[in-house]
């Protein structure tokens, strides 16, 4: 590993100032499960590494207020997967957080870090999209909220501006009854990066929200408001037609080692159908 300066700001203001001063020469360190690998293989060569874990405002916390659940940037996957409120209102996010890597990884990896790393295969991304999450970012110009769908650009690239860092992820508590599930395809049952990762939610108004990742440069959210997908009695071919529209945006890379484009596109459909069925069942049973 190349050497670097190490900073441990104690406040958000300090962190923003450092980030703004160094720009692309600085990297933020939360859980380290992505960054340390890049530092070691040389794909990241910052002059400064800024550890966010001592910033008071970012300390691990999951709070509920004003119809929202707010997950601070320092919160790790283990705690997200175990949190009662997340499991109650955002069960697909809990499911996703529970399969990020191994126990050791989940004890360090933060949701904010996962989102900022912006891998198209990020397992938490589909459920964040489905649940309409917002990324809260603080920067030199102040604080702003960015809808997760407007946050991802492509692998490794987000819409954060210079000097900005994510302070929290906010999820609006659903006003309608809804049920969701997270599914994914891996090469083995043991922990793995996904070759398709997908979240599907249906609500009592018949709206189906579906998001998928690892089949293109960024995760994609699609919504069916026709009510056809969510209707257990609707015929399969009607649903298939809607799925085809939904998946038209998928463009898996032919260079991937994990799975061929053909398999990924096929699994998108298989997982989409299965996720829909599970979501409909969960909504019906009130799970």
């Amino acid at each position: 590993m190349h050497t670097f300066e190490f900073a441990r700001p104690a406040t958000l203001a300090e962190a923003v100032a450092l980030l703004d001063a160094h720009g692309p020469d600085a990297r933020l360190l939360a859980g380290g499960t992505d960054l340390v690998i890049r530092l070691r293989d040389g794909t990241a060569r910052p002059a400064v590494v800024i550890d966010v874990k001592r910033i008071a405002e970012l300390r691990p916390a999951i709070r509920q207020a004003d119809g929202r659940v707010t997950i601070s940037a320092g919160t790790v996957m283990t705690d997200i997967a175990a949190d009662d409120r997340v499991r109650r209102w955002f069960p697909a996010l809990a499911e996703a957080a529970a399969v990020v890597g191994s126990v050791q990884i989940r004890n360090r990896a933060t949701l904010a870090g996962n989102v900022c790393n912006a891998s198209p295969a990020a397992d938490t991304a589909p459920s964040l999209l489905v649940y309409g999450a917002d990324v809260v970012a603080a920067g030199p110009g102040g604080t702003r909220r960015i809808a997760v769908d407007d946050f991802f650009v492509r692998s490794g690239v987000t819409t954060l501006a210079r000097g900005e860092l994510v302070t929290a992820i906010e999820l609006p508590i659903p006003s309608r009854r809804q049920a969701a599930v997270h599914l994914r395809r891996t090469r083995r049952r043991g922990h793995d990066l996904a070759s398709v990762t997908l979240c599907c939610a249906v609500d009592e108004a018949g709206v189906t929200r579906l998001a998928y990742g690892s089949v293109g440069p960024r995760p994609v959210l699609v919504v069916d408001e026709s009510g056809v997908l969510a209707d257990p009695a609707a015929p399969d071919d009607a649903k298939a037609a809607i799925f085809e529209q939904m998946f038209a945006g998928a463009s898996p890379s032919p260079r991937s080692m994990r799975a061929s484009p053909e398999y990924r596109l096929a699994m998108l459909r298989v997982l989409g159908r299965r996720a829909l069925r599970i979501a409909i069942d969960r909504l019906a049973t009130g799970e």
Partner: protein
């Protein structure tokens, strides 16, 4: 049977070190004043080295040496267990992705890494061969300089060796077959992925050299180093701490010669620990294309087998060609076949040198032959279990006319596996069962010496040059000494892994050590017992012939005495000890196609019940049963660990493991993220292992070697279950979900 003796499962000797973290593996050993070594490699499958500029690297503070081929004796020494083909450092050309071009020795790891990055190699990428088809194409470049094997008619080709085996006349009997099944089956390139990466250290040692290595064959390494450095053996001391997993990938010298030269050049200890990625570039199993054409009668009896096994080995032979000859030779399996013709080839390529890997060339043809057998069973409408039983060699049968006859009741093993899987009982729809057998020859030659010292207080030191890399050799030898000399196992120390102290052992491979070294230890104990008999005779005024020493008890006419009651008075006031020596030798048989017949066979039957998710191609192994014929399990707990471990390791190449190459022959999936091995979550829902113990082995107490058997036929058993469940036949490993899915897509609709 005491709690420590044979057939018991006392706690692993060396176990405490393993559970406390106090055991010192090579990477844990601290040498004073050590220099850290970092390799320089090219991101290229094959390249002509134009020039190497080390000046920037040498400027890095703390760098003591930057070594290239130019700094070595000229011509650059070459070594290898079969051919002296591997240069200490690449000479003029790198022949595989990761072949070291230079090496840096520095005061710190950081300095070595930084300097290694600054070694500037000007090179020209060359076309690389990394498939069998490319290697056999006469228009393709030669991987190896023909001068390395003069007088070899194959020297102008990429075929390193072509082995022909067989008996009977295939062409004469072929017409009498009612069914001929012919297909080609492929086995992927996979790597050992021992959790401990290879490690090498060397230090000047007086007028000689000391070498530390994760090596499985310390005496073999000693010979290589002595030859390369021009030193007498007695001046080369090899320390071989228990490796953290070997599986064959640590059998033969790799980078010890380089580190030795660096130590002598700098006058300091040098230490090189490979990264995991570097181990993938250092060792692998040969991949294969095996064409099997087999003829059967309508009742399922084999008429002939015609096998062509092409093994793609790496750029340097290592021991790969031996895996080809051993695997090819046995490829017709444990069956009675009137006529067999085998051609087995080792074919060079610009890839990681393949080497020994658990199974030693056998899993690949077994994948082909057992799958082919399954296809024949289906075509004939005969139960796959039944077809095997009809053809299986019986005990004592010379199924291979030039080799040891069947040395076990193999039918018993097969029937037990069938019983455990519930063969023949109804299955719910969507589920399938598969069964397969695997057989592997044990060592063909061998030589192990052991010394056993019975100390004045009855405690014992056993010297055995075997390498204990998890199979539990240390414990087994202690158990033998406990059994024979009556010492509790806590009073026995087993010394291994130091060529200056431990007598010669040929090697640790082929599951040989319980039989070969075990017998040597046993002989050494018997030597001690003979001395005790003489002592007892002298002390008690009886004839030696009237004294028996058995299990720690000295039996005189009329009384039994514990050993100590003879030993203490017998040694007298000066004290001392009794030293026993034992030797176990299996000599070469010059006329034998492999140089020697099999000391024993490992025989295994594996049966699997599986379900396939036809939407995704996922295979769920509901039940995996593995039964091995072991003669006698000296330590059942360890035997179980080996059998289950081998079975799960076999699931690796069956379901998920393979190197992925780019179009230029570079490995794309170096490292743990994209090379998948089985985790605890990938276990079959039920995995059950059993052993058959008929006391019919040549080892101590009727034991045979074991620990490779359970890996041999995992793949064909699983593939057969997949076929049983879905109707798809897949002839290429691994059976990843995507590949199974593809096969399902291509399945002809009924």
């Amino acid at each position: 049977m005491s709690a420590n003796g044979i057939g018991a499962s006392p706690a692993r000797v060396g176990g405490i070190g393993r559970v406390t973290g106090s055991q010192l593996y090579v990477a844990d050993i601290r040498l004073q004043d050590v220099l850290h070594v970092k390799l320089v490699t090219l991101d290229c499958a094959r390249a002509r080295i134009v020039s190497i500029d080390t000046s920037a690297a040498e400027q890095v503070p703390g760098v003591r040496l930057v070594m290239t081929a130019a700094e070595l004796p000229q011509p650059v020494p070459r070594f290898g267990p079969q051919f002296s083909d591997r240069p200490v450092l690449a000479v003029g050309e790198t022949k595989y992705h990761g072949e070291p071009v230079a090496a840096v020795a520095a005061e710190t790891k950081d300095a070595a890494e930084e300097a290694a990055r600054l070694v500037w190699v000007e090179y020209e990428e060359l076309p690389a061969i990394f498939s069998i088809a490319a290697a056999l194409d006469p228009a393709s470049p030669l991987v190896q300089d023909p001068a390395i094997r003069p007088n070899d008619p194959l020297a102008g080709t990429n075929v390193l060796r072509e082995h022909r085996f067989g008996w009977g006349d295939v062409d004469a009997v072929a017409a009498s077959a009612d069914l001929v099944v012919e297909n080609t089956y492929t086995f992927p390139m996979v790597t050992h992925f021992a959790i401990e990466p290879h490690g090498f250290m060397a230090a000047p040692d007086g007028d000689g050299i000391a070498v530390w290595s994760t090596i499985q064959h310390p005496n073999w390494l000693q010979k290589i180093i002595a030859t390369i450095l021009g030193l007498p053996l007695a001046k080369v001391r090899v320390f071989a701490p228990d490796p953290g997993g070997g599986f064959g990938g640590k059998q033969h010298a790799k980078l010890e010669p380089l580190v030795a030269f660096m130590a002598l050049e700098t006058g300091r200890p040098c230490r090189l620990i490979l990264t995991l990625d570097e181990t993938f570039q250092a060792v692998r199993r040969s991949s294969t294309e095996v064409r099997v054409r087999a003829g059967f009668r309508s009742d399922g009896r084999l008429v002939f087998r015609d096998i062509e096994a092409n093994y793609l080995v790496g750029a340097y032979a290592d021991i790969a060609d031996r895996t080809v000859s051993k695997g090819g030779y046995a490829s017709s399996g444990p069956y009675r076949v009137p006529a067999v013709r085998i051609v087995a080839r080792s074919i060079l390529s610009h890839t990681t040198p393949s080497t020994a890997f658990r199974g030693f060339g056998n899993p690949q043809p077994i994948w082909a032959v057992e799958s082919n057998m399954d296809e024949a069973a289906r075509a004939l409408g005969i139960d796959p279990l039944e077809i095997r039983l009809r053809n299986l060699a019986r005990r004592g049968e010379a199924f291979n006319p030039s080799d040891t006859p069947a040395d076990g009741d193999w039918e018993q093993t097969v029937r037990r596996a069938a019983e455990l899987i519930g063969w023949g009982s109804p299955l719910p729809p969507g589920r399938g069962r598969g069964i397969a057998v695997g057989m592997k020859s044990g060592p063909t030659t061998g030589l192990s010496y052991s010394t056993v010292r019975l100390l004045v207080d009855g405690s014992v030191i056993v010297y055995a040059g075997t390498s204990d890399m998890g199979q539990g050799a240390r414990t087994v030898f202690a158990q033998i000494a406990a059994q024979e000399l009556g010492a509790p196992i806590e009073w026995i120390t087993v010394v291994m892994g130091d060529t200056a102290v431990v007598p010669y052992d040929q090697q640790t491979s082929a599951s040989r050590s319980t039989v070969l070294m075990g017998n040597a230890v046993l002989a050494a104990c018997r030597d001690v017992q003979a001395k005790l008999r003489a002592m007892a005779a002298r002390l008690h005024g009886v004839d030696e012939a009237q004294v028996v020493v058995q299990r720690g008890v000295v039996r005189l006419p009329g009384r039994d005495l514990p050993i100590l009651d003879i030993l203490k008075p017998g040694l007298g006031r000066l004290g001392g000890e009794l030293i026993g020596n034992g030797e176990m030798r299996k000599d070469a048989e010059p006329d034998h196609p492999l140089g020697g017949s099999a000391a024993f066979y490992e025989f295994n039957c594996t049966a699997v019940e599986a379900e396939v998710d036809e939407g995704t191609g996922d295979i769920t192994l509901l039940r995996h049963v593995t039964v091995s014929d072991v003669g006698k399990a000296l330590n059942p707990l360890q035997a179980r660990g080996q059998d289950e471990g081998a079975a799960i390791q076999g699931l690796g190449h069956t379901l998920m493991e393979h190197y992925i190459y780019d179009e230029k022959g570079r490995i794309r999936n170096l490292g743990a993220i994209d090379y998948r091995i089985p985790t605890s979550m990938d276990l079959p829902l039920e995995l059950h292992s059993e052993i058959v113990e008929n006391g019919d082995g040549p080892g101590p107490y009727g034991s045979k070697g074991m620990s490779e058997g359970s890996l041999l036929c995992v793949a064909p058993a699983v593939a057969a279950a997949v076929r049983d469940a879905t109707g798809v036949v897949i002839r290429d490993l691994p059976l990843t979900p995507e590949r199974v899915w593809r096969a399902l897509q291509e399945r002809p609709t009924p």
